[in-house]
């Protein structure tokens, strides 16, 4: 009995301990964030790379978000089997459209990653993580968040603003939608922060101070703040040593080119991280699905030497005579996401100058882009004609990049060009599942 007195509790303790140990299993392909993950230089820099991977995810700049910009325009015809695509082309988008939902959650996932960095990096005490590096990482996070809210605002109007990392499932309930103006204000505030933190270096794959200027130029254009738009576009254009219109047009994408001087911000892909775009564009003969293709109107324009010039390299034809878009073509699918090109800044400045009645300046900027495409200088002479010429130039210059829809909406031309009579249709529907899930998220009117 004496023995039992000692042995039994001992056995019980050993059993319990070994049981506890037996039941403690750790993953090997992920780490638990129990003790915080961003704690040193290495974790901070890997988290920032993870942020860019979110930005370049297929839900966002990888493809889906970009497709919203061109499918909703007037350049594309639906040639596949998924009628969610047809909804964009016929401007009859339903709230349960899966691509809209995918873009929405892709953007907010990016915001959450940025919020993590903004929240954690400043407090890290690792001698290797210098203040300069911290500033760079924070600046990149602010820039990315600015781009996210900018994209949300121009697609859906005012949205819910979240500025902290999500740690529990109910963290982000109880947030009302901000107005469009408030959302744009958040964009500007983040851009200003990024401007002060980032160095004025050149890195086409990541954000620098010059990338911030480029996005600010676009921002002010959308906000119709013409002087600021002209100013910031000019700051980037002025750096002609690093940013120039490459000759010919196709030089920025053809022959597997990456990171040419054309690119101000170009998101990078690899065999590990591929980009869905080519799969939608390329015909089956090239291993794609050709879900959509350039429509007859665009083909006529782009193949007209006087209008499209050497931009005809954007389209190609199969042996069977099917036209397809050829901006995204690489195999493996590593086509970059051309997020901000220098051509855009020329056209932003052209438009801003035209709006400010600096017609000569506008014409010269527009002609810079036209000259690169191999077409004659513009004949537009009045402000109105010039603005129209810039609009048409943007249509071709960014035919398969995500600009056309947003351009027509911001200039109020969607009704005239696309025949959209219901102003509610100028904003996309908030994903139905999100409205259902979050009582504070109101649907856009008309959906």
């Amino acid at each position: 009995m004496q023995i039992h007195k000692y042995i039994l509790p001992y056995l019980a303790a050993v059993l319990l301990l070994s049981c506890k140990k037996f039941l403690d299993v750790q993953p090997q392909d992920a780490i638990a964030d129990d003790a915080g993950v961003i704690t040193d230089k290495s974790s901070a820099e890997t988290a920032v790379r993870g942020l860019y991977r979110a930005l370049s995810d297929n839900a966002y700049y990888g493809s889906t978000f970009v497709t919203l910009g061109y499918l909703c325009g007037d350049n594309i015809v639906w040639t596949g089997s998924q009628s969610v695509i047809q909804q964009f082309i016929s401007h009859n988008i339903r709230a349960d459209n899966a691509n809209v939902a995918s873009a929405w959650s892709g953007i907010y996932a990016t915001i959450n990653r940025a919020n993590y960095i903004i929240d954690k990096v400043q407090a890290v005490t690792d001698p290797l993580l210098t203040q300069d590096l911290k500033n760079q990482f924070l600046g990149e996070a602010y820039f990315t968040r600015a781009l996210c809210y900018f994209d949300l605002a121009r697609t859906w109007g005012g949205v819910q603003i979240t500025l902290t990392p999500t740690t529990t499932p109910d963290d982000k309930y109880g947030i009302k939608r901000s107005t469009a103006a408030q959302t744009y204000d958040q964009v500007l505030s983040d851009l200003v922060a990024a401007d002060s933190l980032l160095p004025a270096t050149t890195n086409r794959f990541r954000a620098t101070r010059k990338t911030v200027w480029a996005l600010r130029a676009r921002y002010h254009l959308y906000r119709q703040q013409w002087a600021d738009a002209e100013n910031y576009a000019g700051k980037v254009i002025a750096d002609s040593a690093n940013y120039k219109l490459v000759q010919p047009y196709s030089a920025f994408f053809a022959n597997n080119a990456t990171a040419t001087s054309e690119s101000v911000l170009e998101l990078s892909y690899s065999t590990t991280y591929t980009n869905n775009h080519r799969n939608y564009w390329q015909p089956p003969a090239n291993g794609g699905t050709r879900q959509w293709a350039p429509n007859d109107a665009l083909l006529a324009l782009v193949n007209d030497p006087a209008i499209g010039g050497n931009r005809s390299s954007l389209v190609a034809k199969t042996a069977a005579g099917l036209w397809y878009g050829n901006l995204y073509y690489r195999s493996p699918a590593t086509d970059p996401a051309y997020t901000i090109r220098i051509a855009e800044l020329w056209l932003i400045r052209a438009e801003a100058r035209a709006q400010r009645n600096d017609l000569a300046g506008a014409i010269s900027d527009l002609n810079a882009v036209r000259a690169r495409a191999g077409v004659a200088p513009t004949e537009a002479a009045t402000q109105a004609n010039l603005l129209l010429a810039i609009e048409n130039e943007r249509r071709l210059e960014f035919a398969f990049e995500g600009h056309r829809w947003f351009d027509l909406v911001r200039t109020g031309r969607a009704a005239a060009v696309l025949g959209i009579t219901d102003p509610n249709k100028l904003l996309l529907p908030v994903p139905a599942a999100e409205v259902l899930n979050d009582p504070d998220l109101e649907q856009n009117p008309g959906y």
Binding site: L51, Y52, S56, A95, I111, T167, P169, T271, Y273, P284
Partner: protein, 1021 residues
Amino acid sequence: MKIAIISWIVLLPLFTYAQYQDNITLSGVIIDAQTKTPLPGATVHLKNTTHDALTNDKGEFNFLTGQHLPITFQVSYIGYKQTEVTLNQRTGIVIGLTAVNTQLNDVVVVGYGTRQRKNLISSVSKVNAAGIKDIPVAGVDAQLQGKAAGVQINSNTGVPGDGVFIRIRGATSINAGNDPLYVVDGVFINNTSLQTISTGGRATSPIADINPADIESIEVLKDASATAIYGSRGANGVVIITTKRGKLGTKPSINFNTSHGWAWAPQLWDLTTGPEHAMLINEFYKNSEADALAAGDQAGIKKYAQLPFRPVADGGRGTPEEQQTYDRLHKLFRTGLLHNYNLSVQGGTPTNKYYIGAGYTQQEADIKPIYFNRASLKFNFDQNIGNKITVGTSNSLYRSFRNQARSGDGPQGGLLQSALHTPTYLPEVNPDGTPARYAGFDNLDVLLNNYDVNTTSLRYIGNLYAEVEIIPALKFRTSWSLDYNHYDESEYWNNLTQLGAAPTNGLATSALTQNTTWINEQTLSYHKTFNNTHTVGILIGNTLQSNIQSTTAAQGSGFPSNAFKLISAAATRTASQLWTKANLASFFGRVDYNYANKYFAEFSIRADGSSRFGANHQFGYFPAVGAAWRLKEEGFLKDVNPISELKLRGSVGITGNQNGINNFAARGLWSGGAGYPDNTTGGDQPGIYPLQLANPDLRWEKTRQANIGLDLGLLNDRIGIEVNLYSKYTTDALLQLPVNAISGFNTYASNTGEISNKGYEVAINTSNIRNSRFTWQTSFNISGNTNKIEKLPVPVTYYNRDWVKLQQGYSMYSFWLYRQLYVDPETGDAVFEDVNKDGQITVADRQIMGSAIPTFFGGITNDFTFDGFDLGIAFTFQYGNKVYNLNRFFGEGGGTRDANRVLFADQLKRWQKPGDVTDVPRLTAYGNNYTLEQNSRFLEDGSFLKLSALTLGYTVPKRITSRAGFQTVRLYFTGSNLLLLKKYSGPDPEINVTSLQNVQGLDLGTAPQPRTVQFGVNVTL
């Protein structure tokens, strides 16, 4: 026998001289009282002695005994009534046993033990393996269809060895598994597919690795008192598979069985011809142009101005009359061959028994190029060491090879997309002679000639046990078990296929997955009867289980030519690795008591600790209590002869579920694998990102189940009726709950849902006729289950286009659709129900319309024997389930998909002119007719009655076979799926495109189940 004799000699001095004088042989034979056939393996016991003997293969027994006459013999044999006779003779004894007509006296395997059915408290269905093993589906799970009450089983595809839908008493879970726990000879085996490559959404069944020929019996445990001993894995029921083990003291018996046959699809789809297709498309253009004009849509007017099928000279595709019709379906579908060989030896000495089995099965699907083959080796052995110790082992080694192909969703490599969904007017080859590809689908000829996707599963399931009788009736058992599966997949798409075409230039994938489960288990059991009235059983035990699954996969593209197939030759290579592990520590106990075989009570509990859950909720406790009352033993029924058995049963308990969720679902995780360059020259550098939100409160899903049952035997048990009513209620359902996307996450693992299942089961077994020449038995079962999602905070939708929606208050597997009320005979436009009456059809008007869950289902089997002939006819049926016909959805696109999809012949029934009454609306690109996708028009009734198996056998008379040295020779014919009565317009309503568990009854691109016939011979030496 030698050892037995020696032991008697040793005992001899104990007897008196007079007894020694009497110590001579007792001999005789045990036969079936009606058929007069000898019964080998029957136990003969001399009352009030310790003498036991087993009959040999001729039914004969021999004793050396000192007992005085008269001697009382107690003879028992499985399936027969235990008989006691007192005889005054020593030799030439003939004792006839009467067969028990129902299963009431069967020994039924339950968790960690066995019970006689008459003493059973819980609800257990026993399936005799002999009756089902010839049905040519690869897995025993599919063979069980219609055989066990309360168990709904559907093969979802005609691909042999593919996953099977199985639900025992309804679906209890949304995100955790709904499949039962499979226990093979005490080993908890993996039944989650290890497949990683795409075969169009389907998944292979790990159960198909097991050779049905090695199986002795299958028990399905259904109520809480049966399953709670399996604790956290019992909520979906338990399937216990017992393999053959030989018999002590029997001569080696060699059995050889082979069968060969054919499999083909009994029905295909009815498609439009080329001219019909063209005519419909032209009509679509005409109508659309008119609608565009009415709407003032300039782009539309332009687009639809010219008919596409106009003379080639005008730039068209040729007039409708000029179109050819190309039949692709009959190129794809074939008559597949079935081959099956099984060889086994079983027997034993007085101290050991063994079973050795080997098998080979090859099954071709009804479509090219899919086939399945399996080789298996089985070795079971048990050895007694003295009187107290038994050691034994079970070993199974399987190799399943699958020649795979994509038969399901997805355009690339999809066989039925290519054969069924390509418009019939389009030729197979381009004008230049190259293979033609349309609409994103592969060319069928190219696919059939170049498909190179296969899987090899190597699997070992085995255990080693030792059992010691410490004191009489107290047994200790320890066992070590292993389920190891090596799953090797390879895909090669050469440059002729779409996936491998330039610029990819060949695409190869190789994936190696290993799944290892080891189990260590100890039990201590005590079972004793006191004073002939009180029987007590006690069981305690523990289990340690560990599961590791890892996958290493590589992919390569850019091959020099089609001659190079290994990734090492590829220009671009990527690799990935997965690893996951879960441990489970369990303690369990059970106490059962019965008073005079009249009143029964049982209590069991299991405590399961799982590494999957947070520290606060690692352990779950699962108790159950059951009771039964055998009224037949009461005085008032004892002499009521027509009623031979009457028992009431009841049980209530809690079981759990933790299957199917990620092993680290409770943890907040950051993942690697989000690399990005730092600059334009350095390439990708490692990156991390928040992958998953933590939920430290994640815990077991619990299902509370109450069961009441009645067992009734009538007319000397010639009629056996079992009725069960049950109610299951699942709380804390494991659910990937959607979280608002602004959080940056989509879902998190939670315990939110509640689901109820209520149902009934009736099983009736009758022995209609039984005489020495002719027997006729019938088994019938019917079950119904009502499933309801009682609590779900947010509705969840599944599959692209959100066909399926789970919503509180509705049944699971419900379809979410726009209800097409009718087609307006005046305009030809489809009219949809405007649920919210706002004058327009929006998402708010989508409604839940029916579910893939049947109202009732079951089976009826009739078995006849007449002299040497035997005939088995088994029907299965299912009623009230809905199937969404996605093939028709695509095939009746009204022209909107133009050259991209086939048009089904039903499209010809479209509205054409005012006054036409039809449900197929006017062809147009405008309005809702063909653009409102989730149209209820394609939701069909999936009820069916199927002749699932018909077997006719002839056993050659013994006087002929014994001359050739055979014990038995049986020739047989088996047909399956010979008759299918259905309303469904597709080939087979028993179908599903995906292995996603919450999506059922979606028919798209899947090979229908084959009709098969086989001829076979079974020889026993």
